[in-house]
């Protein structure tokens, strides 16, 4: 039997950010840097509270989350099936993998001008950019996961009379689930990075736009506040996706 997992220490996870904020406050209070360049955590907290009460922060967070979830889910919905196809078919790999690698090498930010020209300002260009950031890593990781399924699983499935579409649901998908979940975490992080950049340039709202707006208004406290919120939501999204790794039927992929 494997040894039981060590118990998590939530206090430790809270202690390190607390120490960081304390150090930030001390450096800021010591006036080592001008307040216009290095805001005090208290000012940032006050700014965040004001933005929250006005409703702007919540609206921006919702707008960003909507774009990220739309782009990310679209990438998963198309990327996983594309990866399954490429993983199973040598012909498909030969035909499409060079294209996937080409587009994967392009920074999603390079698409910003085209995104604005084609789709204007608002949700659509941001969703498009998130899709361009998340789709290709998902395709590649799914392809690799399918190609590395041990052949013994398919042999055992054949012995057990598992064929056709049932092979996909009973063998292929569960066999790649741990790797795909890890990729989804990476892709969600990428999506969150890209939405901020996209909203800075092609948005009228969202947390990226809030950063740009604060910068234009020289509100360094709001700028830092928006950054904090982005970080907290990003970490929260990852924690949400980590829950997928707690599903008993995928634990085997993380405990060897």
């Amino acid at each position: 039997m494997t040894r039981p997992a060590s118990k998590p220490a939530p206090l430790l996870a809270l202690l390190t950010p607390a120490v960081l904020v304390l150090a930030w406050g001390l450096v800021s209070s010591a006036r080592l840097f001008p307040p216009s360049l290095f805001p005090h955590p208290w000012d940032v907290a006050r700014g965040v509270a004001l933005e929250f009460r006005s409703g702007r922060l919540v609206n921006d967070a919702i707008a960003s989350l909507f774009r990220v979830s739309s782009g990310f889910l679209l990438s998963v919905a198309l990327g996983v099936p594309a990866g399954l196809l490429l993983g199973h078919s040598v012909r498909a790999r030969e035909a499409l993998l060079p294209l996937v690698n080409f587009f994967r090498s392009l920074s999603p930010l390079a698409w910003i001008p085209f995104a604005i020209l084609w789709l204007g300002i608002g949700d659509a260009p941001a969703i498009f950019l998130i899709f361009m950031a998340a789709f290709f890593p998902i395709v590649l990781a799914t392809t690799a996961a399918v190609a590395s399924i041990p052949s013994v699983f398919f042999r055992a499935a054949r012995d057990l009379g598992i064929e056709g579409p049932r092979l996909l649901s009973a063998v292929t998908l569960p066999a790649i689930a741990p790797q795909v979940i890890t990729t989804l975490r990476v892709a969600a992080g990428l999506s969150w990075l890209v939405v901020v950049a996209a909203e800075m340039i092609a948005g009228r709202d969202g947390l990226g736009f809030a950063i740009w707006d604060a910068r234009n208004g020289l509100r360094i406290d709001l700028l830092a506040g928006a950054m904090l919120v982005i970080g907290v939501i990003g970490a929260g999204l990852d924690r949400l996706l980590v829950q997928l790794t707690r599903i008993p039927s995928v634990r085997w992929g993380y405990e060897r």
């Binding site: 039997m1 013994v152 699983f153 042999r155 055992a156 054949r158 057990l160 063998v171 039927s249």
Partner: protein, 259 residues
């Protein structure tokens, strides 16, 4: 042997490009027999088993096999995303009677002594326990023929000894025709009714050693010792009664023939 032929290979040849792995091999396994295949490393034992299972089509020759058979694999063939219980249930023939399925699964869990581990995932079990579950899943198919590809090779020595006893006990309760590929000659001599010795590549059956008595045989039994020595000699690992292997027991005498 009185049983009717269950598995029959005639002049089977397998070649991968210019490399001929099986060179016109003949093999017949009768119903109820336990046949072990031994041979030099890389001679094509697993290829032969792949042909027997239908996973690999021969380049030439004829293969008659039962429509349904099950295989126990060298590496983990259990699905790691399913519990022990779910793996065993998956091995049962489909039936709308869920109660009957449950009883069959429970009987198999009892047979391998892992009823209390039913809800556990394979990666939480030891290697020996996993092999027992795989054996139970294979037995659950109620197919007449079991093909076993070095099923205990990844286990440590003591676990291997224990699994030999377990396999013999399980087969007493659920008799099957078995073809076992193994590199462990003592294992073959303890368990099999016939040990077939394969030649170097391209492999053919070059010799056969028959053994009597109930399984598992005592490894110190003179017949078993003699069989082990005969096989070692056939494989070129022993000559003139002098073992080339450190610790190999002395030869006495055994039934066998060279082809």
């Amino acid at each position: 042997m009185t049983g009717k032929p269950l598995l029959c290979l005639e002049s089977v040849r397998v070649a991968f490009g210019p490399v001929e792995v099986l060179g016109g091999l003949d093999l017949q396994v009768r119903d109820g027999e336990f046949v072990a295949l031994v041979g030099p490393s890389g001679c094509g034992k697993t290829t032969l088993l792949n042909v027997c299972s239908g996973w690999l089509a021969p380049s030439a020759g004829r293969v008659d096999r039962p429509a349904r058979l099950r295989m126990v694999f060298q590496q983990d063939g259990l699905f790691p995303w399913l519990t022990v219980d779910e793996n065993i249930l998956l091995g049962l023939p489909p039936s709308p009677d869920r109660g009957a399925q449950r009883r069959r699964a429970d009987a198999l869990l009892d047979l391998i002594g892992l009823r209390t581990f039913a809800g556990v995932y394979p990666h939480q079990l030891s290697g020996g326990m996993r092999q027992r579950v795989e054996l139970a899943r294979a037995l659950g198919g109620e197919t007449p023929l079991l093909l076993m590809d070095e099923p205990f090779s990844s286990l440590d020595y003591l676990a291997r000894l224990k699994m030999r006893l377990e396999l013999a006990r399980i087969l007493r309760e659920r008799p099957r025709t078995v073809v076992l590929v193994t590199h462990d000659i003592e294992e073959a001599a303890q368990l099999a009714d016939r040990v077939l010795v394969l030649s170097e590549r391209p492999a053919r059956v070059c010799a056969e050693v028959a053994l009597d008595g109930s399984r598992p045989r005592d490894p110190t039994d003179p017949d078993v010792v003699s069989a082990v020595h005969r096989i070692l000699t056939m494989l070129g690992l022993e000559s003139n009664g002098e073992s080339r292997l450190i610790g190999a027991p002395a030869a006495t005498g055994a039934r066998g023939r060279r082809e």
